[in-house]
């Protein structure tokens, strides 16, 4: 039995974990629920010896432990199965195990390893052929190989106690494979393994876990049996509805010009549907927020709006060019070895005063850069300094300064505050609100629900490539949480009359079904 108590961890000014406690019991499956950035990975990295806590203690069976490396964690029986597999597809199952576990040079005893592998698999009633090529196995089978590898590693480290951390194990699985995995997880527990099951899928937690803990913004906000209702868990995960002031209804009059119009858009890539039935309108003077767990179609949606990925069907009207604050500033928005001045001119270098008849006028680039830097508080030694020398916050401020320069009519921002400290994050959000106030149409795709709800006039939820209107601000955030997780479908809202009481007592659509 593992116990973490009072674990705190700070990174600079950011508190990643604040006095988090967690108890993991042999033979039980413990669900760990939380949004992106809630602190799940930090907690697991501490448990796995990759990070050291600033405060708090880890105990095993009453004795205090200091875990300084994954090898040390392994000696105490802690293994981890990552979302992305570390397998070589061109090698056999047993060779993959040997590759991971046999540390010394020398003869490879495939027969012995195969026997050990079979023994572990039999205990779980899994059918695994040690000689099969990993590349020929289905994803679900490969995941079993990963789990067996982790169990054998624990055996090898000589620990009697076994704790396995499964990090979003169903993220890469198809629904039938999920149905196969969940009993396997139960089999692990029955075999005497303590399992930590990290996920944000409520339905799975209810099916497979004995108990559940909910992390929110670095704090453990809930411990309890997994039989807790899904609505309650969703609410715990995304935060209580009272903490947010009611926002005025959409300030953009319905007569305001429609700047982005998408109707019934579907996108298929290699026969896979990544976006379907997406209908979206963004008008001048409003911020439309799109909430959703990452990987539910955000990337193709943005690419389609920017004209980089033509829809398979449906109609799309969007101006060109659109100001865009992309998800990954270093990869998509900035040229790191070039100077701040050059980066700030990337949108406008083709016209006066930046160039004349194709010849550059460097003096104008510096002047322009200085003006933007002081207006947007971009701190750099000089306009000639390489972008790579700036901090992440200043890089993002530079992107925002460039994109909002010249009052663009349409702005798309994707996770615009990712990796920023609180001050820089609010500066970026304020710029978006200011742009909205002067009449820009803003589409904000953001995985931080708190920030999204704080600035959006309307909120749509993207789940598995489909968009649903959440009804925000007349719905409560738990409803949005459920839509994001796909835990419960919405009731037939379209037929409902406008909910006049919505502002006083937020109704939960579909909660009673």
């Amino acid at each position: 039995m593992f116990s973490l108590s009072g674990i705190s961890k700070r990174f600079g000014a950011v508190t990643a974990l604040a006095e988090v406690s967690l108890t993991i019991t042999t033979g039980r499956v413990h669900g760990l629920l939380g949004e992106n950035g809630a602190g799940k990975s930090t907690l697991m990295n501490i448990l796995f010896g990759l990070l050291q806590p600033d405060a708090g203690s880890i105990t095993s069976g009453g004795t205090a432990l200091r875990l300084r490396s994954p090898a040390e964690a392994l000696r105490h029986g802690l293994g981890m199965v990552h979302q992305h597999f570390a397998l070589v597809p061109t090698l056999s199952v047993v060779d993959n195990v040997v590759l991971a576990l046999q540390s010394s040079l020398g003869r490879v005893d495939r027969a012995a390893w195969s026997a050990r592998l079979r023994q572990r698999a039999d205990a779980l009633r899994w059918d695994i052929d040690p000689a099969a090529l990993v590349g020929s196995l289905a994803t679900g089978q490969q995941q079993r190989v990963e789990i067996l590898k982790a169990l054998l590693a624990i055996d090898q480290a000589g620990s009697a106690q076994r704790t396995l951390i499964l990090d979003e194990p169903t993220a890469v699985l198809t629904p039938p494979e999920v149905d196969e995995l969940l009993p396997s997880v139960r089999a692990l527990a029955a075999d005497g393994v303590a399992v930590v099951y990290i996920s944000h899928k409520l339905a799975e937690i209810a099916r497979v876990c004995d108990e559940v803990s909910v992390l929110r913004r670095g704090r453990m906000v809930h411990h309890g049996p997994a039989s807790e209702t899904q609505e309650r868990l969703a609410e715990l995960m995304v935060g209580s509805p009272v903490s947010h002031p009611a926002r005025p209804a959409c300030p953009a009059p319905l007569t305001a010009a429609v700047r982005i119009a998408a109707r019934d858009i579907a996108i298929r890539i290699d026969g896979r549907t990544v976006l379907q039935d997406v209908t979206l309108e963004v008008r001048a003077g409003e911020i439309v927020g799109i909430a959703g767990v990452e990987g539910n179609g955000q990337v193709p949606l943005v690419q389609a709006l920017l004209g980089l990925l033509p829809p398979t069907s449906g109609t799309l009207t969007a101006p060109s060019p659109i100001a865009v604050i992309p998800d990954d500033r270093q990869r998509e928005a900035l040229v790191m070895p070039l100077s701040v001045a050059q980066n700030l001119a990337l949108r406008r270098y083709r016209g006066s005063p930046f160039s004349h008849h194709g010849w550059l006028s460097p003096a104008a680039w510096s002047t322009h850069a200085r003006a933007l830097m002081s207006a947007s508080d971009v701190r750099a030694p000089s306009p000639g300094a390489a972008m790579a020398t700036l901090s992440g916050g200043n890089q993002q401020k530079a992107v925002v300064a460039r994109e909002l320069d010249g009052d663009p009519p349409v702005i798309i921002a994707v996770n615009p505050t990712r990796g920023l400290d609180v001050g820089a994050a609010s500066a970026v959000l304020e710029r978006l609100v200011a742009a909205r106030d002067r009449g820009a149409a803003v589409l904000l795709i953001h995985s931080d629900l708190d920030e999204l709800l704080a600035v959006s006039d309307r909120v749509l939820v993207l789940h598995r490539g489909s968009l649903a209107d959440s009804g925000w601000p007349t719905c409560d955030r738990a409803a949005i949480g459920r839509l994001m997780l796909g835990g419960l479908p919405l009731g037939p809202r379209a037929a409902d009359p406008p909910d006049v009481d919505g502002l006083q007592s937020p109704s939960i659509p579909g909660a009673t079904s």
């Binding site: 050059q342 949108r347 270098y349």
Partner: protein
């Protein structure tokens, strides 16, 4: 300040690499019984000991400069054109064809200019085959350009032994080009020809275009971050095509100028200026003016090495060995500084 540091670190890497390689080679030769001072003086005498020798070194630098620029202009845009060798040969064979069997009547300088341009175009067309294969069939340029080199060698070999073959000999070579199709010699008594001067002018012009024009800026951005360039609405594909055409054109022009200025004909023996151009580009840190210096240096290295062979009996292949070592040393040096430059960034994120 940081810009100046970056530029000076580039020069530092090149100078450091050259010093290290010279030291290693001198130690090696000393172990074989050649005194370092003798080797150095003999080498220098061979490379620049007289006006004639110096002219020979500069003449040798001409094609290296052009193929070096060809490689650099493509590499700067992230287009891995390894095909200067083939593009050089195609340009050369075009020139020879118009200088022997396809003679066009008219004023010599005009026809010569037109054929030079035509040869550059043929090199560009050969290079664009690779771009086409990438666009339509997804074949990586770095592979197709190498393979097209072999095809170019075979095509040129076929032409040299077929339609362009000199009927007066059994050796695999073309006839000598007509006098009006030869590039004029700049220094009496040498083969230092007009093409070398043109190459130097092209280097300076290319530097200006890359540094001072919107197209040059786009080439740079596309090379450093094509994703960002695309999102900024830059014509990424068009710039990659343009750069490939210019690269192939420069290599084709190099081939044409070499046959019209030096040899006057093509034979079956390999030239390898195209591959050497990659070394020149690396040594010059992809900067046109750096490449100008690097080409001169490698030109002197090559003529000096033949001096070493004549006087000390050291095989002139040493020049190629030194050239290879130089590229390795520059890449190692560049790798070390790149890692050093990335380190503080990795810590802050």
């Amino acid at each position: 300040m940081s810009r100046w540091l970056a530029a000076s670190s580039g020069i530092l890497i090149a100078v450091g690499a050259i010093s290290a390689v010279i030291l290693v080679v001198l130690i090696g030769l000393a172990l074989l019984g050649h005194a370092p001072t003798t080797v150095l003086t003999t080498w220098f005498h061979g490379a620049a000991g007289s006006w004639t020798r110096l002219a020979l070194s500069v003449q040798e630098a001409g094609p290296l400069l052009l193929t070096g620029l060809a490689a650099a202009v493509a590499f700067r845009c992230g287009v891995w054109n390894i095909g200067a060798e083939g593009q050089f040969l195609i340009g050369a064979v075009t020139m020879v064809a118009f200088g022997t069997v396809l003679l066009i009547p008219g004023p010599g300088w005009l026809i010569l200019s037109i054929v030079l341009i035509l040869s550059a175009f043929s090199g560009a067309a050969w290079a664009l085959l690779a771009t086409g294969l990438e666009r339509w069939r997804g074949v990586p340029v770095v592979l197709s350009t190498i393979l097209l080199n072999f095809i170019a060698v075979a095509v040129v070999g076929m032409l040299v032994q077929g339609p362009l073959h000199d009927p007066t000999t059994t050796a695999p070579q073309t006839a000598l080009m007509a006098e009006q199709m030869r590039l004029p010699v700049l220094v009496e008594g040498t083969r230092l020809h007009l093409g070398v001067l043109l190459a130097a002018i092209i280097a300076v012009a290319l530097w200006l275009v890359l540094k001072r024009t919107t197209i040059g800026f786009e080439v740079q951005v596309v090379g450093l971050n094509p994703d960002a360039a695309r999102l900024m609405g830059m014509p990424v594909g068009a710039r990659q095509v343009l750069v490939m055409a210019v690269s192939g054109g420069l290599a084709g022009f190099a081939g044409a100028a070499h046959v019209a200025g030096v040899t006057g004909m093509l034979s079956g023996s390999p030239v390898s200026y195209g591959y050497a151009g990659i070394a020149v580009a690396m040594l010059g840190r992809l900067h046109p003016l750096g490449i100008l210096v690097a080409a001169l240096f490698l030109g002197m290295l090559s003529t000096g090495a033949s001096g070493l062979e004549r006087r000390l009996g050291i095989p002139h292949d040493l020049g190629d060995v030194v050239q290879g070592l130089l590229v390795l040393a520059v890449l190692v040096g560049g790798g070390i500084t790149a890692r050093r430059a990335l380190r503080p960034q990795a810590e802050s994120t």
